[in-house]
């Protein structure tokens, strides 16, 4: 595929940096700031693009893991249908990324709805399950967006490539 997505992003970044940027007056602060963020966003996107499918599948796996644990804890069938829908989306190579994401979102919504129905005893156990099971998806997302520069100690987050193999 010529030009591929990476090449297209590469040329856009180059054009913005080398041709558009210098043409913006120094006192146009809003335009300067938005160009800076546009370039940064495109840079983050370019690094993410080749791994997007694996990343979405990994987050889906995390959502299924949590739903499985809560299902076992509560003996509820409330998550069965959304779990099966997500599993089906993951098993079908013709499904687009956004379809997998929609199925994951539906499972996340159902998981939250289930937690809200729990009585005090189960709720306390469910909190601990959620807190522990959230560690991996949060770290994956921190690593995914590490290029944003928002981590105060970025070296403490494992590389996304490592986390996608975990």
């Amino acid at each position: 595929m010529v030009p591929d997505s990476d090449l297209q992003l590469q040329v856009v970044i180059k054009a913005l940096r080398e041709a558009v940027g210098p043409a913006i007056r120094a006192d146009e602060k809003v335009a300067q700031e938005q160009l800076h963020l546009s370039l940064a966003t495109l840079g983050v996107l370019r690094s993410q693009l080749p791994m997007t499918r694996r990343f979405i599948r990994a987050l889906s796996s995390d959502a299924l893991d949590l739903a499985g644990k809560l299902g076992a804890l509560t003996s509820s069938q409330a998550l069965s249908a959304p779990r099966e829908a997500l599993e089906a989306a993951l098993a079908d190579p013709s499904r687009e990324n956004h379809e997998i994401e929609a199925a994951r979102s539906a499972l996340m919504d159902s998981t939250c709805a289930l937690i809200e129905t729990l009585g005090p005893d189960l709720a306390d156990q469910a909190r601990r399950v959620v807190i522990d099971a959230s560690a991996m998806p949060i770290e994956r997302q921190r690593a995914w967006f590490i290029g944003s520069g928002f981590e105060s100690a970025p070296d403490k987050v494992r590389p996304i490539e490592t986390l996608l193999e975990a």
Binding site: K29, V30, E33, Q34, H36, L37, S38, A40, T41, V44, L66, E96, H98, E99, A102, R104, S105, A106, M108, D109, T111, C112, A113, I115, E116, A123, D124, A126, R127, R128, V130, I131, A133, S134, A135, I138, E139, Q141, R142, W144, F145, S148, G149, F150, E151, S152
Partner: protein, 403 residues
């Protein structure tokens, strides 16, 4: 969402009514959030305003307050912040018997903002704080967008910078900024002294803040209202739900501590939210009061102590809270300046709450605003959404400690 129905993108009345019933908040906050949802339901999208059109609205607002004898000149856009549209200009006007001239700022909401707040509250607060801590003088307010396209206020331009001018700009909204060894000590001393001052004065200032619901010592009702504020925002704006947010909300409601002292809480109290003059390291104006409320001082303390606002000292031997002092020194300096105690349990509670509301703002509203193309700064709020994950880890870690 690729064509799937997203009720939050075009909310119907029953959706809003159910959220309002379930998560009651302060009256003025309810009015503000409901206005946002009704505007969103109308399908209104952001269209760039011309400088001329905003100056025309500004002139209308000034005329309604001082009459026709004024001139506006040198209007220009201002950058900075992630939420409001700001225009600087020079104003000459007749103020009673005196002729006055002053640099001014118009601060107007876009169609939707990453934090949806009340200009009326901000106006009351800036007036009440005049003489308490340095704030920009606030002149006129358009609370319902009668003169301008959206609610707005006009305040005096304050001199100063939010970060050292020799610091290369690395991040939006001043997060994680480093004052450097020369400025750090004098800025820190003033920051803590000022914060202590408005924390001590909540009950005294309350009568001058009619758009703020009252707060009662010994009751946790205001804390529950505050938690509900951010749950309501999460419900109105998020893409999909997050189990960690559900768990955090339940814990926050179940463990809301009663108020032990009524403080004026800034709401976004941290490095980067005040101006200072570099030649004398003097704080000239505290900014961004839009999230202020009457409540618990630990909220501001916890907010200023959030992980993204800290950095290591030059020697690499200590993490500086809020870019200012090591943890224990920060607490001790505050207690000395305020005469108020810092309760570790309350601090942990508000660390959970501050993390919760940050995720609600950045991951919830940040997403929704950018998705709907609602502001002049969609790229800024979209960028800001990426901070949600380090904050979620802070939320997760703190919850694990307190459970």
């Amino acid at each position: 969402m690729h064509g799937t129905l997203d009720i939050r993108q075009r909310p119907e009345d029953h959706f809003l009514d159910a959220i309002r019933d379930r998560f009651p908040v302060e009256a003025e906050i309810d009015r503000t959030l409901s206005r946002k949802m009704r505007l969103r339901a109308s399908g209104d999208v952001y269209a760039a305003h011309s400088l001329d059109s905003l100056i025309e609205g500004t002139a209308s607002l000034i005329r309604a307050n001082v009459g026709d004898d004024f001139t506006i000149s040198n209007a220009r856009w201002l950058t900075g912040g992630a939420s409001k549209i700001q225009v600087a200009f020079e104003l000459e006007w007749q103020d009673g018997s005196a002729r006055r001239q002053a640099p001014m700022v118009l601060r107007m909401e876009p169609n939707e903002s990453v934090v949806e707040t009340s200009r009326k509250r901000e106006f009351e607060l800036l007036q009440a704080l005049d003489g308490v801590v340095p704030v920009p003088p606030c002149f006129w307010v358009d609370p319902d967008g009668e003169h301008l396209p959206h609610p707005a206020l006009i305040y005096g331009f304050a001199q100063g910078v939010t970060k050292p001018s020799d610091l290369p700009s690395q991040q939006v909204t001043g997060i994680g900024l480093n004052y450097g060894p020369k400025l750090r000590a004098p800025i820190t001393a003033q920051f803590i002294e000022h914060m202590a001052r408005f924390h001590r004065m909540g009950a005294e200032l309350a009568p001058r803040l009619p758009s703020f619901d009252g707060v009662e010592v010994g009751s946790n009702a205001s804390v529950i209202r505050l938690v509900n504020w951010w749950r309501r925002v999460w419900e109105e704006d998020r893409a999909h739900d997050e189990p960690l947010m559900t768990v955090a909300y339940d814990w926050l409601i179940a463990n809301a501590p009663p108020i032990d002292h009524v403080s004026l809480v800034h709401g976004d109290c941290r490095a980067g939210n005040f101006l200072f003059t570099e030649h004398d390291a003097r704080i000239t104006a505290w900014l961004d009061w839009e999230l202020a409320l009457l409540g618990d001082r630990h909220q501001d303390l916890a907010w200023s102590m959030m992980d993204p606002y800290s950095h290591s000292n030059e020697e690499g031997t200590a993490q500086l809270i809020n870019g200012m002092l090591p943890y224990d020194d920060y607490i001790a300096a505050y207690e000395k300046a305020s005469g108020l105690t810092v309760d570790p349990a309350r601090l942990a509670y508000y660390r959970v709450l501050c993390s919760y509301l940050s995720v609600s703002i950045c991951l919830g509203t940040g997403y929704r605003v950018a998705k709907g193309a609602k502001t002049h700064q969609d790229i800024v709020v979209s960028w800001l959404a990426m901070i949600s994950y380090p904050i979620m880890e802070q939320l997760r870690g703190t919850l694990k400690e307190v459970l």
